[in-house]
């Protein structure tokens, strides 16, 4: 089953689900689950398609190893999140168009990853941007969609310009050949490099372009934000890979000035990635709405991914590819648990919730596993990828980038723990006393994603072998891995051994716990209150402004939004000034211009 | 002392003062009839006695009278003025001064709880302030016997004899 049939099938399934949900919304939602799962199976089984080329309506495709890897992640996230669609059908304004756009954007992303020439790439890029722009306002706010679209269009316009410029120089659109000529001209290479990668930066949400992420994720319908943060952000990583892997960046910039051994153009982007880690972490620690919090964590993790891809070496590149997979699963699982809670309690604000663990234990366990992976703590997958990235940075000696990486990973302990303590643990508010746990259909994707994080944390061999293949196909030496022992230049990690030791320690502490005298179960309100009698659980739950002392340190921080706001006001004033000067009906202005022209003529001595 | 006399002369000219007393230096106590209290306090506050230091009640059980004492204090000349009046002891009623000195709210609650004086106009003065689950007459009244209440409420320790010498000082 070669892949042009796959793309056709997916587009056709989008239209079909539109028709089905026209007749019955619930059925339409279930059809999205069915079709996305089928396309996942087709893609997974069609691994041998790597390498063959085909064309469809004069758009030609080429199945590359990295394309297959990215689309596998994308379809996985889409299919897992689709399980939640049936429960949001009545909440969304236009459910049938939602189903259609959901599957259509999926088809477009797969098409993008298999594009052979730049025009197909750009077409599918625009299709994805348009379809997701229409889905975002189905949630709460139109403003989010407007901001999302404007920033995405900045990226796509810049990339379009780069594509046209490259076509004018090289004469071909084919991805592999188009950028070859840049190797010899460093100046144009720098220019093309920066314009082409902007689309990637806007999509990953790197520092100046990260404004849309909290808005879009915060306000998109609960069942689309996992896809937005887990899936669509990864398209930006693909563009970043193209602009460093296919475009011979290191060869072109080999002559230019290097900072700490890295060409300054690439180092500049890595600094942007580092800034977005720090900004993402600091803003995530502050948030009260969990969805915005996870959105900012996607900004931070996007920074990791960009840094990893830009390094294009054996260890860091493998780390960032694996981090794309781990981050996609973990943040999708986190978003799904929050959606499950929002489905029952109608709110995602931490200060309004508390003690959800007593009502929804499964979502708690899934959330716990996904944040352990997000924070990069050993037994989970996230640790392996962060370990690789940090080992790579250490071996290259980039201490400023490493500072941001460590700030991000330890800061992630803070912002992942805030919802854990404020939302799941602590006192249960009486008004949520009788909410039902999440339904079985909701539990399936959550459990699958969580078990994937655990599985790839202990046996990263399967993931790293495919990444090794990708690295060889690109031409950099692959990550050295033999049976779950990852060896890098100056560090060895054997995840089986670490997991076994962790299990051994856990068993010993469990035995100590069981040997000792039993403990008596007491309610949550029977707790130390300096001997005062308390009767109101809400008052006794510590949830809002969780890190108040730390947040006070950067209370009035400069923010991109304010800067853009001021910039907008300034341009408006400029417009008013120009209007009053040139387009006003007042006679005095015309007299002014007559005299000005007269004096000019007099001074200039124009020979009429 | 002349400033005290001038204040007294000034007050005497305006109000019908039943008696005056100088309990301590920089202190002057004036007795008034029930109905003049509010006007005098408002006047005193207007001429600089901005702080209500204390509102308390004294139980003259022999005369069958509760005596309300308002102590106001002037920060400029440092003089306390004790404005005193007598209330009938059987059903002690009086108007609140919360509109004049908002701080009086807790004093009135205290006086109500420990003496049983009713203050109309201050609706929270009926809530208890210090005593929890109190089930007897207001305890500061002279006709309340704390010893009897304590013996009946809190079981005491029985000793075989009052003095150790009688017991023979056993080890």
């Amino acid at each position: 089953m070669d892949f042009n049939a796959l793309i056709l099938f997916m587009v056709f399934s989008a239209v079909l689900s539109y028709l089905v949900s026209k007749s019955n919304i619930k059925l339409g939602a279930y059809s999205t689950i069915l079709f996305s799962l089928i396309s996942l199976i087709i893609l997974f089984l069609g691994r041998n398609n790597i390498g063959n080329e085909f064309s469809l309506l004069y758009m030609n495709f080429r199945v590359t190893a990295i394309g297959w890897y990215f689309s596998l992640i994308m379809i996985l996230i889409y299919s897992m999140t689709a399980f939640f669609n049936p429960y949001w059908m009545e909440k969304i304004l236009y459910p049938s168009s939602y189903n259609f756009l959901y599957l259509f954007s999926l088809a477009a992303t797969v098409g993008l990853f298999f594009a052979a020439d730049l025009i197909t790439l750009f077409i599918f890029w625009e299709v994805v941007v348009w379809s997701s722009t229409f889905i975002v306002p189905l949630g709460k706010s139109r403003k989010a969609a407007v901001v999302y679209f404007t920033i995405s269009s900045i990226g796509s316009m810049a990339t379009l310009f780069a594509i046209m410029f490259v076509y004018s120089k090289s004469g071909t659109f084919d991805i592999n050949e188009a950028f070859k000529f840049l190797a010899s001209e460093p100046l144009t290479a720098t220019f093309v490099f920066f314009t082409f990668i902007t689309a990637g930066l806007t999509k990953i949400g790197i520092f100046p372009f990260h404004i849309w992420l909290p808005l879009a994720h915060g306000n998109a319908p609960h069942t689309f934000s996992p896809v937005l943060s887990g899936g669509l952000v990864k398209m930006g990583a693909f563009i970043a890979y193209l602009s460093v892997g296919i475009l011979p960046a290191y060869k072109a910039f080999s002559t230019s000035m290097t900072i700490m051994g890295i060409p300054f153009q690439i180092y500049l982007l890595m600094v942007l990635g580092a800034i977005s880690i720090v900004v993402g972490t600091l803003m995530a620690i502050k948030q009260d709405d969990v969805k915005k919090l996870i959105a900012y964590s996607s900004v931070a993790n996007g920074g990791y991914i960009l840094i990893g891809i830009l390094m294009m070496d054996q260890v860091t590149f493998a780390g960032s590819l694996m981090h794309i997979f781990n981050h996609a699963i973990a943040s999708a699982a986190a978003f799904l648990t929050i959606a499950a809670i929002a489905h029952r309690t109608k709110t995602t604000k931490i200060s309004e919730l508390g003690g959800m663990i007593h009502k929804m234990p499964v979502s708690y366990v899934v959330y716990l596993i996904s944040i352990i992976s997000l924070a990069g703590i050993p037994p989970m997958g996230g640790f392996v990828s962060k370990w690789l990235i940090v080992q790579g940075l250490a071996s290259k000696g980039l201490i400023f980038i490493a500072f941001a990486a460590f700030f991000g990973s330890i800061g992630s302990f803070l912002y992942v723990f805030r919802p854990l303590a404020g939302l799941f643990l602590g006192q249960l508010a009486p008004k949520y006393e009788n909410i039902k746990p999440s339904t079985l259909v909701m539990k399936i994707p959550m459990v699958i994603l969580a078990s994937m994080s655990v599985f790839f944390g202990i046996f990263p061999k399967y993931l790293l072998e495919t990444i090794g293949e990708i690295q060889t196909s690109i031409g950099i030496d692959p990550i050295m891995i033999n049976g779950d022992t990852i060896t890098t230049i100056n560090g060895v990690l054997n995840t089986n051994k670490v997991a076994a030791i962790f299990g051994f320690g856990f068993v010993i502490s469990l035995m100590i716990f069981l040997v000792l005298p039993k403990s008596r179960k007491v309610g949550l309100m029977d707790t130390y209150t300096s001997a005062e009698f308390i009767y109101t659980p809400e008052l006794y739950h510590y949830a809002n402004s969780f890190y108040a002392p730390f947040e006070r340190l950067y209370k009035n921080h400069p923010s991109v939004e304010k800067f853009l706001g001021k910039f907008a006001v300034k341009t408006e004033e400029l417009g008013i000034l120009v209007n009053s000067l040139f387009f006003s009906h007042k006679p005095s202005v015309t007299v002014l211009w007559v005299m000005a022209i007269a004096t000019l003529i007099f001074l200039g001595g124009v020979d009429i | 002392m002349n400033s005290m006399n001038s204040i007294y002369e000034n007050l005497k000219s305006k109000f019908n003062i039943l008696g005056v007393d100088y309990p301590d230096d920089m202190q002057m106590a004036i007795d008034l009839d029930e109905k003049d209290i509010h006007t005098v306090i408002v006047y005193l506050k207007s001429i600089g006695y901005t702080q209500l230091s204390m509102l308390t009640c004294v139980d003259w059980i022999k005369e069958g009278v509760f005596q309300l004492v308002y102590i106001v204090f002037n920060w400029d000349n440092g003089i306390h003025i004790l404005v005193r009046t007598k209330l009938d002891r059987e059903n002690p009623k009086f108007r609140t001064i919360v509109e004049i000195y908002p701080g009086a709210q807790f004093y009135e609650r205290d006086v109500h709880e420990f003496f049983g004086v009713e203050f109309e106009g201050n609706e929270i003065s009926y809530k208890n302030l210090f005593l929890e689950l109190w089930d007897d007459m207001p305890p500061m009244r002279k006709d309340f016997d704390p010893q009897k209440y304590s013996d009946e409420k809190y079981a005491a320790r029985e000793y075989k004899s009052k003095f150790i010498s009688e017991v023979g000082g056993e080890k």
Partner: protein, 190 residues
């Protein structure tokens, strides 16, 4: 001054199991103190802790919450309101727990014997393992008292907590008679 300990029995044979004996040895040599600063006795404890008397020699040290503490020191007179909070705090402590009453106010009401607000005998409401007489006992007396408590625990005599569990209804009857009800709602914690 003879220290009255309310359940001093004749030394009948020791029927504690070996495991309890070891446990009692540990519990005797490391007693964590949740002193509830009621009344005027609390000021006697800092000198007992600091360099002159150094209570840590006996393995004793202050702990912040009743969950972690072993001994509840009642250091002074107890008004009915404080007694309610002390009973609540005592019930939050983990077994085996001990209570030490400081000063004559806990023994027989002391100088507040005729007050309408203060209780007169602590062990009507809580199982007191040890009283330390004095108004207030000086650190020497406090250290001597702690020594006696340690030897009581070693010998397994300090089981006021068992006594509290076994005849809980007698204690709660006393408490309700004197206090009306223990768990009250007040204006500030509705």
């Amino acid at each position: 001054m003879k220290i009255i300990s309310n359940n001093s029995k004749t030394d009948k044979e020791d029927m504690r199991k070996i495991w309890e004996k070891i446990g009692d040895y540990f519990r005797a040599n490391s007693i964590w103190m949740k002193w509830y600063c009621t009344g005027c006795g609390a000021i006697e404890l800092p000198p007992t802790m600091t360099s002159r008397f150094d209570m840590e020699r006996l393995g004793m040290g202050p702990m912040a919450t009743p969950r972690q503490a072993d001994v509840l020191l009642i250091t002074g007179y107890l008004s009915s309101k404080t007694l309610r909070r002390i009973i609540y705090s005592y019930e939050q402590m983990q077994d085996p727990k001990y209570v030490v009453g400081f000063g004559s106010c806990t023994i027989n009401g002391g100088i507040y014997y005729d007050s309408y607000a203060t209780m007169k005998q602590l062990d009507n409401y809580l199982p007191v393992d040890l009283y330390i007489a004095g108004c207030m006992p000086r650190p020497e007396a406090v250290m001597n008292g702690f020594d006696t408590l340690i030897s009581m625990i070693k010998k397994g005599e300090a089981n006021g907590w068992k006594h509290y569990k076994e005849n809980y209804d007698w204690y709660s009857r006393n408490q309700l008679h004197s206090l009306g009800e223990v768990y009250v709602k007040d204006e500030f914690h509705e």
